[in-house]
Amino acid sequence: MDLREMLRSGVKSLARHKLRTLLTMLGVIFGVAAVVAMMSIGEGARRAALEQIRLLGTNNIRVRAVAPPENEGEQNSPGLTPRDAERLRAKLPTVRAVSPLRFVESTIARGSEQPSAVAVVGVGAEYAVLTNADVRRGRFVGALDDHAARRVCVLGDEVARELFGPSDAIGQEVRIGDTRFRVVGVMQRTRVRSGGTRVIEMRNFDRDVYIPLETALRRFTDPDFPRHIDEIAVQVSRASDVMPSSLVVQRIMSAAHRDVADFQIVIPEALLAQSQRTQRIFNIVMGSIAALSLLVGGIGIMNIMLATVTERTKEIGIRRAIGASERDILGQFLHETLMLSVSGGLIGIVLGALMAFGIHLFAKWDTVLSPLAIVVSFGIAASVGVIFGLYPAQQAARKDPIEALRYE
């Protein structure tokens, strides 16, 4: 019996009991949908994590200013200042780049237009290198800008579009807070949206405005702590240097701050690794649910196929008398089960893709439907068909043709 005939007879017998066929497929449908959704979420999270690593800069160590504990006098420590950055640059053997950061919430406006809120970031010249940030037009903040505390700024992609639309922003004047700045560069657009699956709190980089650190300290002075900065970004040469270097950073900083815990060391990549471990747990849970659903679905299919085989004993007898071999009968029932599970699998893939899209819409998680997910779940569906179809098909093939012909 050729393949085409097997498919034809399979379609006929499945179409005979449409509701039963659908109910039988449900387990496989949900199982496969769970696999597809899980893999989509996993792939989305993986890509988001990679993009985050790229944006935070590879091999980074961040030193963040935190409020010192109540009982420890502020007099003992000067707090986080640009001098700490210089200290790290001088004393950390593995250092490659260092940039102090100061964050100011301010507004930006072009001419007399309505000002809009932006995150103004005072940075050192090495910041762009350190974070792999690309300048789309013009240049980044330079060392001379910092020395001379020039009033120049580099706009994030979204800010530039908002203020200047399609026209060129370079050389134009903008008002940040009450001060006039000249635009010297526009950043490349980043692809990470805020919120969602982020483990590390990330602001929207496209709404950043970068100015020289000295300018930030002088123009946006905090009267209580005039030289305080918020963060120091340190980049070391190799990935394997990150962990040992962080200990050295800790020691250098502790000595300089007289053991006052007014700073915190953060390693973005370690946090991302942690988040991926969490992701793995999620995958295991979802995977177990999917496996269980597929198992139950497979048993359901086997159950129905065993009933079908008994129900169609007479037909088996007739086919055997006409010239069907045991192999023909085996093939016929195996194909039927396979069609059942593969159709269930296809419906499941569609359902899983819809689930992934729904999760993206409502939970704002990044989901990516990869071709691998489709291939894997299709393979799983087909395997379920073969594994759980083999036994009923064998039962059908082993029926004694004479007994089968007598069956009423």
Partner: protein, 248 residues
């Protein structure tokens, strides 16, 4: 010799004991014969039919169908032999209810590996021959008993097997339709097909040229062996005794 059984026995294991359905039976049927096999139920005539139709294998002895020894064949080869050499017609028609008439007639060709186009053409030709062309899109349950049996005959013949094996073909039909079916077998025989009918109905057996009677797993009477023919001619009117050969 189309059907050649020599010392064929069929023994079924029944727990600790054995049930002997056929005792060393010898039958020879030439190509072109019209034979009926008769016997009461439990006589072993069904077992004999299953053996001749290659649905079963002898436990002892030799069975050659069209020169091929059946006993040593595996399932696949035996299925192929059934497909090529034997056309079955059953008492309860045994058509597949989900398939229409044409598809039912085509089915032996499907297992015979015949291409789709040719299958269709041959099935149509046979339906034409049994006068059911107009019904080819109908399902079996839309047909009368006689029509169903004619479809079954068309299916049995579609692969042009040398042997037509019918098991009580008129059992589920009224006498008029039964007559029509027997007339069909008669015509087929006249055109050269070898026909074997298994029946307990003496009226059906009358259509055949030779009757083999089975009783208690042995051939009780065979009007076709050379000895019986000679005997019948010499001692006309005298009941011939049981004729069989001992194994060996």
């Amino acid at each position: 010799m189309l059907v050649d059984l020599q010392g064929v026995s069929r023994v079924y294991p029944m727990g600790a004991t054995e049930c002997v359905a056929l005792h060393a039976v010898d039958i020879g049927i030439q190509s072109g014969e019209f034979v009926s096999i008769m016997g009461p139920s439990g006589s072993g005539k069904s077992t004999l039919m299953h053996l001749i139709g290659c649905l079963d294998r002898p436990t002892a002895g030799s069975y050659r169908l069209d020169g091929i020894e059946v006993r040593s064949l595996d399932d696949r080869a035996r299925s192929q032999l059934r497909n090529r050499k034997v056309g079955f017609v059953f008492q309860s028609f045994n058509l597949i209810p989900e398939y229409d008439v044409l598809e039912n007639v085509e089915l032996p060709l499907v297992y015979g590996g015949v291409a789709r186009q040719e299958r269709r053409a041959r099935a149509e030709a046979l339906l034409e021959a049994v006068g059911l062309s107009a019904r080819r899109q109908h399902r079996p349950n839309e047909l009368s008993g006689g029509e169903r049996q004619r479809v079954a005959v068309a299916r049995a013949l579609v692969h042009e097997p040398p042997l037509l094996l019918a098991d009580e073909p008129t059992g589920n039909l009224d006498s008029r339709t039964g007559h029509e079916i027997m007339k069909l077998f008669h015509d087929l025989h006249a055109r050269g097909t070898t026909v074997i009918i298994v029946t307990h109905d003496a009226n059906v057996a009358l259509w055949s040229k030779r009757t083999i009677e089975v009783r208690d797993g042995r051939i009780a009477d065979d009007s076709g062996t050379p000895a019986a023919v000679a005997n019948a001619e010499v001692t006309a009117g005298v009941e011939p005794g049981p004729v069989w050969r001992e194994e060996g």
